[in-house]
Amino acid sequence: MSNVRSTSIMGREFGDRVVLALVIIFALIMLAPVLWVIGLSLKANAELMADTNSVFRTPYTVMNYFNILANSSVFRWILNSLIVSTGLTIGTLVLCSLAGYGFARLNFPGRDILFVVVLLGLAVPEQAVLIARHQIFGILKLHNTYQGLILPGLSAPFGVFLMTQYFRAIPKELDEAALLDNASRFKIFWKVLLPLTVPAQATLGIFTFLWSWNDYFWPLISGTKNTMFTLTVGMASTQTNFAQSEGLGFLMAQAIFAGAPILVLYLFFQKYIVTAVSGAAVR
C-alpha cells in the first residue's frame, strides 16, 4: 500500500518536475526578446551600430531613457494615450453592457436581425471602412480631437457579443424576483445583473484598453498634429530614417518606455487578465 502510494507520488512529482522544467524553458524563451530589448536600451547607439553583441559587455548607460524624457512631447503623448484608452474603455463598457442587456433580456421587433447585423461587424475589417470613416470625420471636423480618436473604437461588436452571452447566462429568475419587488428595468440592470457581469466587464475592459493603447493606424491618420499624437505614433515619429541601425538603443528604450504602462497594468490586473484569457478559452 505504502509502496503504491510512494510510486504514485514519485510519478506525480517526476511529472510535475518535467512540466515545471518545460514551463521554465518556455518562459525563458518568451522572456529572451524582452531581456534583449532591455539590454539594447542600456547601450550607446554608436556602440550598437558597430556590434549588437556589445550588449553583453560593459559599459551600460541610461542616456537613451534621458533622451526620451528630454523630448518634451512625450508626456503629452502619454496623456493623450491615457485619455483615449480610458475614454474608449469606459465608453465601450457602458455601450456594450447596455446593448448586451438589451439583446439578452428585452423583446423588441427585429432584435434577432439587429443582433446579426451587429455580429456582421466582426467580419468587416477596419481597412474596408477606413476611407469612408476618415472622410466623415473630416466633414465633422473630428480629426485631431479626442472624440475623433475615441469614437471609432466604440463600435465594438465583439464586446456586444460577449456581454450579450454573459447576460444570457444569468438565470432569468433573478429578473423575475426583482420585478416582483417592483424594481424598474433599469434598476434590475444596474443593481441586480450588472454586478454579476464584473468578470466579463474586466475581460472586455482589459482587452479594450490594451488594444487602444497599442493602436497605431487610426491615430496615425486622424491625430496628425504633434500635440494630438498618441504614444505609439509619437514614439514612431522620433525614429530617425534608419532607426534600426543608427539609433537602436534609443529605439529599444522607446519600446520599453511605451510598454511600461501596460506592464504595470498587467501587474495590477494579473488575476483578471488570466481569468479573462482562460475564460475566453473555455467559453
Binding site: 558597430a50 523630448n71 470625420f137 480629426h143 496615425l220 496628425t224 514612431a236 515619429s237
Partner: protein
C-alpha cells in the same frame, strides 16, 4: 474663499485681456506649420541654434529650424515630426483638408501630390525671395519641375554608393598603385573581381541587406537599366520591364547571390554592422552613411580604420549612358485657400533660409541641390566629396511624371528579391513585376 476665487478670476481675465490687446503678445507673430521626417533628437539639439555644431540629418535640420525661429521672431514655424516617410499621414491630412504649410517630400513622391493639384507652384514665391531655379543643380531642378513649373525647393540629391573597405581590397589585390580601389568596368569584370576577392579574403565582395528589403533591389535595377539606355518608362503610365536589359540585371544579382559573392539574410541594420565589422568589401548603401563610416574609419581599432575607407558612385558596367539612379529631398508647400499673405511671406522666408543654408545640410552626406554650394571650396573640403561630386551629373531620377514611385519600388523589390534568392524564375518575376506595376498605374 469665494472672494479669493473671484480675485483669481479677475486677475486671469485681466491677463487675457492684456494679452489680446497687446501686439507684442500675439498679433505680430505669423505661425506656419512645418512637417518633416528625419526623426527627433531634442535631447541633443532641441534648443541648439549653432548649426555648425549639429551632426546628422536630424541634428542639422532641427538646428536649422531652431535658428530660423530665432532669426525671425515675427514668425513661428511649428514643427510636427512624422515617421519616415510620412506619406500616409500627409495623404490623410490632404484628404481631411488640413495639410501642413511646408512638408518634406521626396522628389520621387512629388508627382503623387502635384498631379492632384495639392501642391502650390513655387515659381512666383521663389522669385519674390530671390531664389532662381537656375541656381539649382540639374538633378535638383529636374526633380522638382513638373509641367514646366517648380513645385518644391530641392535641398539635396541622394543616391546609392559603393562604400569600400580598402583594407580588404588591398588583401584581395584590388588596389591601384595610388591606393585607390580597382572597380569593375563590366559585368564580367565585376564577377571576376568578386571571385578574386572571395578567394583571397575568404569573405564576400558585397555586403547587402537582402532581408526585409525592397528599395536596394529597385535602385540597383534602375541604375543598371539607365546604363543600358533602357527607356523603361517611355510612357509614364506604363512600365516595360520584361526586357533583355532588365533580365541582364536580374541575372547579374542572381549570380552574385548564387556564387556567394554577397552576404545573405541580413537586414539593413545587420548589413551596416557587418560592413563596419569588416565582413565584406563593398557595401551598397546611400549618401547618408558617409559621415558615420568616415567617423568609424577615423576611430582606432575599427575594421575600417586599419585599411581605410573610400566611397564611390556605382561603377559603369554597361556601355550606355553614364548614369545612376538618384532621388532628392525637398520642401513642398501645400495648396491652401485660407492662407494669409503674411503666412505666404513667412513660407518664402523659410524656403530662402534653407536655400541659403544648403551647405549645412550637405554635411549630412547628401549632395547639395545648389550649384554654388556644389562648386564651393567648403563643400569640396568635406570628406570624400571629391569622389562623390560626379553624382551631380550622373544622378538620374525616374521621369517626373511617373506616379506612385514608392509603391512601384516595393513591387520591383519584391519581385527582384524573389528572383535573386531563387524563389521565382527570373522571367516570371519580370513578367509579374511589369503586370503588377501597370495594374497599379492603370487604376490611379
Amino acid at each position: 474663499m469665494t472672494r479669493h476665487f473671484r480675485s483669481w478670476i479677475m486677475a486671469a481675465a485681466s491677463v487675457a485681456a492684456m494679452a489680446s490687446a497687446s501686439p507684442a503678445f500675439a498679433q505680430d507673430v505669423t505661425e506656419i506649420s512645418v512637417q518633416r521626417f528625419f526623426g527627433a533628437c531634442d535631447a541633443d539639439f532641441g534648443t541648439n541654434t549653432d548649426v555648425s555644431k549639429a551632426v546628422g540629418e536630424c541634428g542639422i535640420i532641427t538646428s536649422l529650424i531652431n535658428k530660423f525661429n530665432a532669426d525671425n521672431p515675427d514668425i513661428k514655424a511649428t514643427v510636427t515630426t512624422v515617421e519616415w516617410p510620412g506619406y500616409d499621414q500627409l495623404t490623410a491630412q490632404f484628404a481631411a483638408g488640413d495639410p501642413p504649410d511646408i512638408v518634406t517630400v521626396h522628389e520621387s513622391a512629388l508627382s503623387d501630390y502635384q498631379s492632384k493639384g495639392l501642391l502650390l507652384p513655387l515659381d512666383e514665391l521663389l522669385a519674390t525671395v530671390g531664389i532662381s531655379p537656375d541656381s539649382f543643380t540639374d538633378a535638383g531642378r529636374g526633380g522638382v519641375t513638373k509641367e514646366d513649373k517648380i513645385y518644391a525647393l530641392p535641398i539635396d540629391s541622394w543616391t546609392m554608393l559603393y562604400h569600400i573597405n580598402l583594407g580588404l581590397f588591398k588583401q584581395a589585390g584590388l588596389l591601384n598603385a595610388d591606393g585607390t580601389p580597382i572597380l569593375p568596368t563590366s559585368v564580367d569584370e565585376l564577377l571576376a573581381q568578386a571571385e578574386q576577392f572571395k578567394q583571397k579574403t575568404g569573405k564576400p565582395y558585397f555586403v547587402q541587406n537582402l532581408a526585409n528589403e525592397t528599395a536596394l533591389f529597385t535602385r540597383n535595377l534602375y541604375t543598371y537599366l539607365f546604363q543600358q539606355d533602357s527607356d523603361f518608362f517611355a510612357d509614364p503610365t506604363k512600365v516595360k520591364l520584361n526586357t533583355p536589359e532588365a533580365k541582364k540585371v536580374f541575372e547579374l544579382y542572381k549570380a552574385i547571390f548564387d556564387k556567394d559573392y554577397t552576404t545573405k539574410n541580413m537586414d539593413y541594420g545587420a548589413a551596416i554592422q557587418a560592413f563596419l565589422a569588416g565582413e565584406g568589401g563593398v557595401q551598397l548603401n546611400g549618401t547618408w552613411v558617409v559621415g558615420d563610416y568616415n567617423a568609424s574609419a577615423a576611430t582606432a581599432g575599427t575594421a575600417l580604420n586599419s585599411g581605410g575607407y573610400a566611397v564611390y558612385p556605382y561603377p559603369q558596367l554597361f556601355g550606355g549612358k553614364k548614369a545612376q539612379y538618384a532621388d532628392g529631398h525637398t520642401w513642398a508647400v501645400s495648396n491652401k485657400d485660407d492662407r494669409t499673405p503674411e503666412q505666404l511671406a513667412a513660407i518664402g522666408k523659410f524656403l530662402k533660409f534653407f536655400a541659403d543654408n544648403d551647405f549645412e545640410w550637405s554635411r549630412t552626406g547628401h549632395l547639395p541641390a545648389f550649384k554654388a554650394v556644389l562648386d564651393s571650396d567648403a563643400f569640396k573640403a568635406l570628406p570624400h566629396r571629391d569622389t562623390l561630386a560626379p553624382i551631380a551629373t550622373l544622378g538620374t531620377p525616374l521621369p517626373s511624371a511617373v506616379q506612385r514611385q514608392f509603391a512601384i519600388q516595393d513591387i520591383i523589390g519584391e519581385e527582384m528579391g524573389a528572383a535573386v534568392t531563387g524563389q521565382k524564375e527570373v522571367d516570371a518575376a519580370l513578367t509579374d513585376a511589369e503586370s503588377r506595376i501597370n495594374e497599379l498605374l492603370a487604376n490611379l
